[in-house]
């Protein structure tokens, strides 16, 4: 998988600019998690100590920190990310178009027209999907949140891990593994559907003369139904994941609440510490969810990236 990604970025060029983009975007999620966690921890501690002055200071610092995070994110997006991705995508499309144009007519004829159109329209977007930057964001969020959680209370970290681990395994088995195959079928169905649509237009004269419009329409309808079926399988898997997976999250949350109530009663943990721990738990959990979705998405996009690499290598 990494080899294919490396290959396509070699073709595109300016891969280091994309790495800078990923590095710039990677701390965003963990920054927000830390800001929220520290705010809740300090605010609840101040409330517990009836210290309104401290609470006001905490609120002002939180406001400023949130604003800074927001400005940082917005600046990276508008000044760097959007122009870079647009430029790289159009550059790849241009290179691909030149490559396809340089192929022999025999080679172009050998594949359905829809296949070429899919490469030029859809596949070129796949290396620049949000999945790669989001993977980095998720990994940083998981690692830093887990470390802080461990330092707050190793037992809390253990409970969080107990629910996050099956969550990840379940997602991998149920969704991620099937995605590349399902996405490949969906792309093939899209290409066939485009081919049938093209025939409806290019063979319109023959269809009229030989009363073959119904025949062509039936073929187009069948390919549309096949495309619908292929896409439905992908959506069903995603929906299944979206429906079942939150159960793990909710279960972990309730368990942690029950277990930590005793620690608070014993004075081993403040309520502020617990709310901060929930934030970091959220960081681990949401980071894991994001990571799983990114892996699924990258695996799904790999079909397109592979096709691009194949074409560019011809």
């Amino acid at each position: 998988m990494l080899g294919e990604i490396r290959k396509i970025f070699k073709v595109i060029g300016s891969g280091w600019r994309y790495i800078i983009l990923i590095l710039l975007r990677s701390p965003i999620s963990i920054l927000m998690t830390i800001v929220n966690a520290l705010f809740l921890q300090q605010a609840f501690n101040a409330i517990a100590q009836n210290d309104s002055g401290q609470l006001n200071i905490v609120c002002i610092i939180f406001g400023v920190a949130s604003l800074c995070t927001f400005l940082y994110n917005g600046t990276v997006w508008s000044v760097y990310a959007a122009p870079l991705v647009t430029r790289m995508e159009s550059g790849l499309r241009d290179k691909l178009f030149r490559k396809v144009s340089s192929l022999s007519y025999e080679r172009i004829e050998a594949m359905p027209q829809g296949e070429w159109l899919t490469r030029l329209n859809t596949d070129v977007q796949m290396p620049f999907s949000e999945s790669l930057p989001h993977t980095a964001i998720a990994i940083v969020n998981i690692c830093v949140s887990a470390f802080i959680l461990w330092s707050i209370n190793p037992a809390v970290f253990g409970w969080v891990l107990l629910f996050v681990a099956p969550h990840i395994v379940f997602s991998q088995l149920l969704i991620a593994r099937a995605m590349p195959g399902l996405n490949k079928k969906s792309l093939e169905a899209t290409a066939k559907n485009t081919g049938e649509l093209t025939a409806l237009i290019t063979c319109a004269d023959v269809a009229l003369l030989y009363d073959g419009k119904d025949y062509l329409m039936k073929r187009f309808e069948k390919s549309s139904t096949d495309l619908f079926g292929a896409n439905m399988k992908i959506r069903t898997r995603n929906a299944l994941g979206a429906g079942i997976l939150p159960l793990f999250g909710l279960g972990g949350y309730l368990t942690l609440l029950v277990v930590s109530s005793e620690w608070i009663a014993d004075g081993h943990l403040t309520f502020g510490d617990l709310t901060a721990a929930f934030q970091y738990r959220g960081g681990v959990l949401l980071g894991s969810l994001m990571l799983i979705n990114c892996i699924i998405s990258i695996q799904a996009n790999m079909a397109g990236i592979r096709r691009l690499n194949e074409t560019m290598a011809e």
Binding site: A110, P112, V206, D214, Y215
Partner: protein
């Protein structure tokens, strides 16, 4: 009369392509029309076949004035075979319920049988998108078999060999004989030598029809 064209004029976006055309073709007669490329020959056939609606004048084909009715009475072979991305069989039948014997007969007349016999899937061989998996001559013979299978009274030929080399042309011309036998034929070409077998030949020039 199989075809009667009266006072036919046609223009594209204000540009006159056909101007006051009069032509009558008797049943079983073969008429050739020669003219330069872009001179309106294909437009004339598209009008006769009912692919285009008449703007001015009248066209009667086997008793039908209406475009949709005219289409039922004609079979047409064009420069491009216009194959569907489907099997040879489906390209011949166009999805209609035609019995196997008639399909075989059409293949025989179009000189396809021998080649089809060499294919592992026979008539069920996929021709590719835009006929990409078959040669130009084979594609054109499939188009001829399709026209034969329609068994129309009138056959319209729009330079069916113009895109082929000499050897391939000879095979397609032989196939065309199977299609045009006993039919009313209107054949257009920019090469007069192609039309030597026609009973009458006309020249289309400046949108008007003249005797050759």
């Amino acid at each position: 009369m199989s075809i009667i064209i009266e006072d036919l004029s046609f223009s594209y976006a204000g540009k006159q392509v056909l101007d006051n055309i009069h032509l009558s073709v008797q049943t079983g007669e073969s008429v050739g029309i020669v003219g330069i490329s872009g001179g309106g020959k294909s437009t004339l056939l598209k009008l006769v076949s009912g692919l285009y609606d008449v703007q001015q004048g009248r066209i009667l084909v086997m008793g039908a004035w209406d475009s949709a009715d005219r289409r039922k009475n004609v079979a047409m072979v064009m420069q491009s075979a216009g194959l569907f991305p489907a099997s040879i069989r489906d390209n011949i039948t166009c999805g209609h319920d035609i019995n196997e014997n008639d399909i075989r007969r059409a293949c025989d007349a179009a000189q396809l049988t021998e080649w089809v016999g060499t294919l592992p899937d026979g008539l069920d061989t996929f021709v590719g998108e835009r006929g990409g998996k078959v040669s130009g001559g084979q594609a054109q013979r499939i188009a001829i078999a399709r026209a034969i299978a329609k068994n129309a009274y009138v056959v319209l030929l729009d330079e069916p060999t113009s895109a082929l080399d000499n050897d391939t042309s000879a095979a397609v011309i032989a196939a065309l004989e199977g299609l045009t036998k006993g039919k009313t034929v209107l054949h257009v070409s920019h090469r007069p030598e192609i039309l030597t077998g026609c009973d009458r030949i006309f020249r289309l020039e400046g949108g008007r029809l003249y005797a050759w």
